[in-house]
Amino acid sequence: MASWLDYTINGLIVGNVYALVAVGLALIFGVSRLINFAQGSIYLVGAYIGWVAVVQLHTPLPLTIVVVAVAAALVGLIIERLGLRPLQNSARIAPLLATIGISFVLDQLVMLTFSPNPRALPSQLPDVRFQVGNGTIGLLDLLIAGVGLTSALLLFVFLRYSKLGWAVRATAQDRDAAMQMGVDVNRVNQAVFGIAAALGGVSGMLVGMYYNQIDTAMSLQATLKGVVAEVVGGAGNVPGAVVGSLLLGLVESYGVAVFGTSYRNLFAFLLLVLVLVLRPNGLFASARQAPPEPLTGTFIAPSRPLRIPRWALAVAVGGFAILPLFPVSFYVLQTLINAWLLGMLALSLTLVAGTIGQVSLGHAALLAIGAYTSALLSLSLSVPVGLAVIAGGLMSAALGTTLISPSFRLRGHYVSIATLAIGEIVSLVILNWESVTRGPIGISGIPPLSLFGYDLISASSVYWFSFAVMVVLALLQGRLLTSHLGRSFRAIRDDDIAARAYGLSLNRYKSLAFIFGGFAAGVSGAIAAHLYSYINHETFNTQQSILALTVVILGGLGNVVGAILGSVALVGLPEVFRIAAEYRILIYGIVLLLLVRFRPQGLLGTI
């Protein structure tokens, strides 16, 4: 019994920590209908500013808090002004990507300034601890809870009773109407970003003190957990975010209690998926409330795709096909092999995200399913590699579609969050299902690619194989797009309500898109597995999913040629920037931001 009290307290303590991020996210979502993936980076920046204040300047705690809040608010204002305001009138996917780009830039700047080594951030509170249950809680726990609850309360009061708060709520309800009624929407946005960033910065600092440790990896984790908590509580609902955070903390804590530590995040993400499926507007919204996304298809910008003449494509394909006959280095071939593998993944994602509008952030899971299937079949059952790769594709199509199907009824950002969670779940299942996947040890000794009994080992043969597979998949996808399915998918993307009115079943067509796309991604993962000879649960991670999405946006949503072009660019550019070593992710983030700002429809345009 006593232990359950401890688990409950521990859950609430860590829930407190999540709440600090979730409240900021909720505030921003409430006004701009935007999930700010840069919130974790502001949290990181706050932690390091706190470190400078405490360790270098020796400021007392109240002053530290003020310094961090002001500095973080400034960062927030800069983000709003330079990163997001220019995107006001673009498609709603643009600011989402911009926040991802901003988070890359901020994280890298912190890493370059402070080095990636973790640092201690000593707490400035006296180490007074109170016995609760069998454990103790300290002053800092109380301070964190206090900051979380007070800020939620203050925000609630501010939104309800102040003039600016009224303007914020009006803007949240209907931006255009608010503007017509004389609300200065830009000022509202500034206020909101400033407040949210100040809160984010202070929370990063407090959490850093709580763990006496800050490092650059804390940003992504904070964002992930904050987003989960926020969505559970109901996106845009500030008090809901606090409750959602505490609930998330409790679920994790009880999950650890019952099943063990390595299942912890599994429960967090399962909770998220469950809430999204059962109550897509969050736990505290009424079940039949209209979905929070816009009802017409403005998530993706209209654009006129750039048509590339067939002969040019044929020349390009021919050129790449004969490339290994020339004296190019194996390094170039290997880089292009990576591009072709990423190209297959991008083909898959451009179909589901671009053509049918399900912007998936968990696409690496499809790679993993294909890779594990093919690796295990060829190793354990001695299935010929050629067949195993196809089986990997089929398994990815079947299992991937089944897993993602709960998200079919969701829209816009919610799809992204649900797929992100599903991707994490797949990775965690691979980690924990040791009897099949060999858990953290991974699978080694995977046989090399082979075709009709001949091993494909040389760089050129692997190059030709992966290039041929990608071209075939691209041709098939091109054919699919010109069929009635292509127009049905695009109709669902543009306006799913009108599509249903004309007999298009969302489940049926989203399933078909994921089946086709899942196959391509699964084949890509399977080929990678045989190429690497070793895979584990970390081989196909979230970064891979985000990279694929960037490729798709770069090439133009739904654009087959664009997906391949984007892959070559995004595999090639970091290699070109190798010379910049530590700076290359920074450059990558800046390129992403410039792209979203100046060519949101991608290089070749949305199809």
Binding site: N134, Y211, Q213, T261, N338, E538, Q544
Partner: protein
């Protein structure tokens, strides 16, 4: 080893020696170009800190090698390519190194997925992949071009078990481990050894690298009622666990794997890591000259900073690379064949390092039993805590 193999090997190494000799004499006179090693490791991404620590260790070793006249008069240098510990990038880097005739051998990568994905390319390209942090038991099975000085967990964990069970007298253990290939392998070796020494392992808990909050895990541990906690952790997560263990009211003895050995562990853990026991491969008061030289040199080069385990691994790896290149010259195959020939290379971790030809790893890591006392690592005096 079959006769055939041995013959080839002998002939190969003879040729290599001759070539090496001829080459080095020629090089002596004409080439001012340094001998180039390729390093594939993380400089950005979630493991960036380890790449940074590698660089420090490498640079210190190179300073000493250069000061001692380099490799037969030529300088030794490395080209560090950032892989983010991502297998996709490490394979590209592998092709790059294999294609670059100036690279004579490769060091890294950091994580097993990244290293082992690149192994087939190094093996086929005939370039030694010297994975000095790759403890995955299958790493050196990738081929005869895969060599490692990473301390085998089969060696290390029984030492830790001995410390915990035999020396500290712990009888009922809770094991917390990073749920990675390293942590998992280590746990299995540890549990096996601890049981052989007669201890009972009450609970094992694996956690992911990004985990920050361990309070609930520690309640589980507490309920298993152990008399000692074993941490198979890196220093950052080890420090977090130690702090939170004290917060949830666990007062048991904590005994940690050598990977927490870092000044950062003391800094991040604060008072909570007081009295934590750990086995290490070296410690500052170790009178061995190679250790004293390493620590003094490191502090001098990096403004008084204390080195940690990853600095030491990198430092040793560079010295080992130099020793190998000295024998093998600049021919890639000759370098592979030189690995079994290097004898008793002075090493912080091993004292003297010699490769086992079968496993292509080094056995016999040094062992020191330390405890944290007054915020410092100190040799354990045998007193219970």
């Amino acid at each position: 080893m079959s006769n055939m193999d041995r013959r080839t090997l002998v002939r190969g190494s003879l040729a290599a020696m001759m070539a090496g000799a001829a080459f080095s004499r020629a090089a002596f006179a004409q080439s001012s170009e340094p001998i180039l090693l390729g390093v594939s490791g993380p400089l950005t991404g979630p493991n960036a800190q380890y790449g940074t620590q590698w660089k420090q260790g490498f640079d210190l070793a190179l300073d000493e090698i250069q000061a001692a006249g380099g490799i037969n008069g030529r300088k030794l240098a490395y080209s560090f390519e950032d892989s983010q510990s991502d297998p996709r990038q490490s394979v590209a880097i592998a092709q790059k190194f294999v294609s670059d005739s100036r690279i004579v051998m490769e060091l890294g990568d950091f994580s097993s997925p990244a290293s082992m994905a690149a192994s087939p390319i190094y093996q086929r390209g005939g370039l030694v992949q010297f994975g000095f942090t790759n403890s995955h038991p299958d790493f050196t099975k990738g081929g005869d071009f895969m060599w490692s000085t990473s301390v085998s967990q089969a060696d290390e964990q029984p030492l830790l078990a001995q410390y915990a069970v035999k020396r500290l007298g712990l009888k009922k253990l809770a094991v917390l481990h990073l749920n990675t290939d390293w942590g998992r392998t280590s746990r299995d070796y540890f549990v096996k050894a601890a049981k052989e020494y007669g201890a009972d392992v009450a609970i094992t808990e694996g956690y992911i690298a990004e985990e920050r909050d361990f309070r609930s895990t520690l309640v589980r541990v507490r309920d298993a009622n152990p008399d000692g906690l074993i941490l198979i952790s890196y220093y950052s997560d080890g420090a977090l666990i130690a702090r939170q263990a004290r917060q949830v009211g666990l007062k048991q003895t904590i005994c940690a794997a050598s990977s927490v050995y870092s000044p950062k562990f003391l800094e991040l853990g604060g008072e909570a890591v007081e009295d934590v026991h750990l086995g290490t491969r070296y410690f500052p008061e170790d009178p061995r000259p190679e250790v004293q030289k390493f620590i003094a040199g490191f502090k001098k080069k990096y403004n008084g900073q204390e080195p940690d385990a990853f600095n030491a691994y990198a430092y040793d790896a560079m010295n080992m690379a130099a020793a190998v290149v000295k024998i093998g010259g600049t021919d890639r195959r000759a370098i592979r064949d030189a690995f079994p020939k290097v004898k008793d290379v002075s090493s912080v971790i091993f004292g003297t390092a010699t490769f086992d030809v079968e496993t292509r790893r080094v056995k016999g890591a040094m062992n020191a039993e330390l405890v944290v006392r007054k915020g410092q690592f100190a040799l354990w005096d045998g007193k219970p805590t």
